[in-house]
Symmetry: C2
Subunit: 449 residues, 2 copies
């Protein structure tokens, strides 16, 4: 690896180590002192460059030698020839074959690629949709806007996003399709500490919010759900399997093997269908599904997985759209009011790259306000609004919801989110249901008083 110029200082000259008999003793003390100083610096620089390389952007491949980049920096795209798990012919990306010792394999890879070690935890967001057009009129357009929404969130938060449109295992379709994708992503991204699966119909409606990862340090799988609904109500809806965080570790590979064994490609598929249907009285269709399967594993404790599964419900890790969309106008108005009444810093224009600083300021402001809570009675922006049951692509929505409720609701949520991004570019939507945008005056919204 080449050294980053800011890390590699010119090496000092070799220190004089012997004291000459003709040198006076005070001067010899000075020489010895200086020798110690130089040697310490040499050792320190050597150790430091070995232990703490600094992560910096990829140096890109050049079209031809004459077009090579002139800036020199540590190349974190360098892949040493040392053998890693990638060189093991028995390791596959497909779900049919188990993986073992992943933690060790990953650790070894990270040791060879130290620029990816340390610092904050890395998240790879993964989402996806079908490889052919949607049946419903708005379907693909909503998917497009939803992908843009995810890309916006990831750009603001320095998170990588992989959007997949390939069915990796032809038998594992619909909601089962994500498991092979997540597995392949873990192998392709050993630097990622977490994979964050987000369904295509889940929209980020609070661009300022970051996952409180410290909360999950003792767990490997995080979903939105309520233990009392699992254990007391035995409801298949006690959690939502459309948005989850899963740690990139051996436990997760083993867990996904068990989870996938309930899927359509498994010889036990029918058995699981019957078991889930008999266990969950509110399950709406007879076939085994990923969500009921998860609830089953938690409810019964089968396999011992539940100790590492965190059911989050203190914020909208994912929020049921029907209890959110009707409140979005009010939430939007309350935030504008906070910005109007609050300190000037809330209205200050700024670069997108310093977004997080201003998110922090807003958080401080909201912390002073009553009712600025997350949840159905609060007016804090919901983190994620999930249009579960709306099926915008196929149009086969749950008949409990009207088309308007779903489609219009999605546009509102998308515009609500877009406003938070467009703000940085000097604009906002004329309303949550309008595609039209308006320029924001200086010191908005105080300038509108």
């Amino acid at each position: 690896m080449q050294m980053q110029s800011s890390c590699s200082l010119p090496r000092p000259k070799s220190p004089p180590m012997a004291r000459s008999s003709i040198i006076p003793s005070s001067l010899s003390d000075v020489l010895v002192f200086t020798a110690g100083a130089f040697l310490a610096l040499l050792i320190f620089l050597g150790l430091y460059s070995f232990l703490s390389p600094t992560p910096i952007p990829n140096r890109l491949f050049s079209f031809s030698p004459s077009f090579s980049s002139t800036s020199s920096h540590i190349d974190d795209t360098y892949d040493p020839p040392d053998e890693t798990f990638y060189d093991d012919p028995t390791l596959t990306y497909t779900i049919d074959k188990s993986i073992s010792n992943w933690d060790e394999k990953r650790r070894h890879w990270l040791k060879l690629h130290p620029s990816f070690s340390g610092g904050r935890e890395r998240i790879l967001m993964v989402s996806g949709s079908q490889p052919y057009p949607c049946r419903s009129y708005h379907g693909d357009h909503l998917l497009l806007r939803s992908l843009k929404n995810k890309a916006d969130y990831c750009r603001l938060h320095g998170i990588e996003l992989f959007y997949n449109t390939a069915l990796l295992n032809p038998s594992m379709n619909f909601f089962w399709a994500k498991i092979p994708v997540i597995r392949a992503a873990m192998l392709a991204h050993p630097e990622a500490d977490w994979i964050w699966w987000v369904d295509s119909d889940a929209i980020f409606t609070d661009m300022e919010f970051s996952l409180p990862l410290d909360r999950y340090r003792a767990h490997n799988l995080v979903l939105h759900g309520w233990p009392e609904l699992v254990y007391k109500k035995k409801s298949w809806c006690s959690l939502n399997a459309g948005v989850f965080l899963i740690r990139n570790c051996q436990w997760s590979f083993d867990f996904m093997d068990e989870w996938a064994s309930m899927g359509p490609q498994s010889p036990d598929y029918e058995k699981w269908g019957k078991l889930q249907t008999s266990t969950f009285k509110d399950k709406m269709f007879p076939n085994s599904d990923d969500q009921s399967g998860l609830v089953y594993l938690i409810l019964t404790g089968r396999g011992g997985w539940r100790d590492k599964i965190y059911l989050e419900n203190e914020y909208y890790f994912q929020g049921y759209f029907a209890e959110i969309v009707g409140r979005l106008e009010n939430i939007s108005a309350r935030y504008i009011e906070e910005e109007r009444q609050g300190p000037a810093v809330l209205r200050r224009r700024h670069a997108e790259r310093v977004f997080a600083s201003y998110a922090k300021e807003m958080n401080v402001q909201l912390g002073k306000q009553k009712g600025a809570d997350t949840g159905p009675t609060g007016w804090r922006r919901p983190f994620v609004t999930h249009f579960t049951g709306c099926q915008p692509c196929s149009g086969d929505r749950n008949k409990v919801y009207s088309a308007d409720n779903c489609t219009l609701g999605m546009y509102k949520a998308l515009n609500f989110a877009d406003d938070q991004v467009l703000r940085i570019y000097g604009f906002r939507h004329a309303s949550l249901v309008s595609a039209d945008v308006q320029p924001l005056p200086f010191d908005y919204p105080r300038s509108e008083e």
Copy 2:
């Protein structure tokens, strides 16, 4: 700024500086030497932490104090309170008002945000499409796949992507709509050295290729085009205005003001329509358009802009789809053959984050092969394949092209690109026209011999 933990080592204890008279002289030498060592380390750590802050990922805003991130590092999202251009009430994001002294304003902002200075040049890719569903059946699905394609390219190359779906100036629609977006993006991203506008119907078909930015160091605007077609043929198609690089500088703001003055919101719109139509005999419609306007400025030298405009044609900075799509199967087969015959490193599985290293290896391999050129007779992957004239969203394609040619062509290009990404996840398409994917065996494609 807080210090990155890997940069701040535990401070050593205070060194003993005086030599006691009861300590033997050899031991006293040791003490003096050690004292020198400690003092040097103290001084070095102090100077280093002061002079060399290291850029690292954003520290994210926490939901509440109890959920704060435990890792401490330099916060490059910090925005000092010092006044910048953002605090100037006369500066607007909208296109109707000119900006002046942008280079100085940007320089000042960068000085206050040193983590964004230096290193390789930063690019922000900008693209977009309309805020309502497409008229044609495949339209939005192709836009979705195209956005995914751009997101893939940007993820592989460490480039940020902003996809816009808002019409910022209601009068500047269709091809004019990009100018207000680019302008707003420059203001929102002062850290970006270049804005790379890429039309929604332009697909990245060589994931390994990086822009040779050194080539453009003396220019501010880069487009694909041919000077001879500008000056000799006087063709409105002598360049393509759907893909370009524009430097984030004062020249570009001034240029965009002039360029936009030919647009529908301008009182000179009709005059420009007549002027362009009379100048370019092959112009296909009477209204002023952005592309003809650009050619006009280069042809006539009006405004002196052309000295800073680079017409690139030595590679497919953007490539005309009709001369590309028929060759994609062959190109794909040639690359597979190179990987099969070439050194093992070309077939080695690897993490996505070290993609660039392997791109470099392939580039070396291709450099040895005859015919591995870019252009209509070579078999090098085209960098960008642009379906100009296909209008996948409205369906109002140029009748010279069949629907198949356009739609099928786009799917082929998208799958061709997707194969390069899916490879990293262990899969590839069954064919360029198939949505089905297959797992790749170890040592593919040599394993298929």
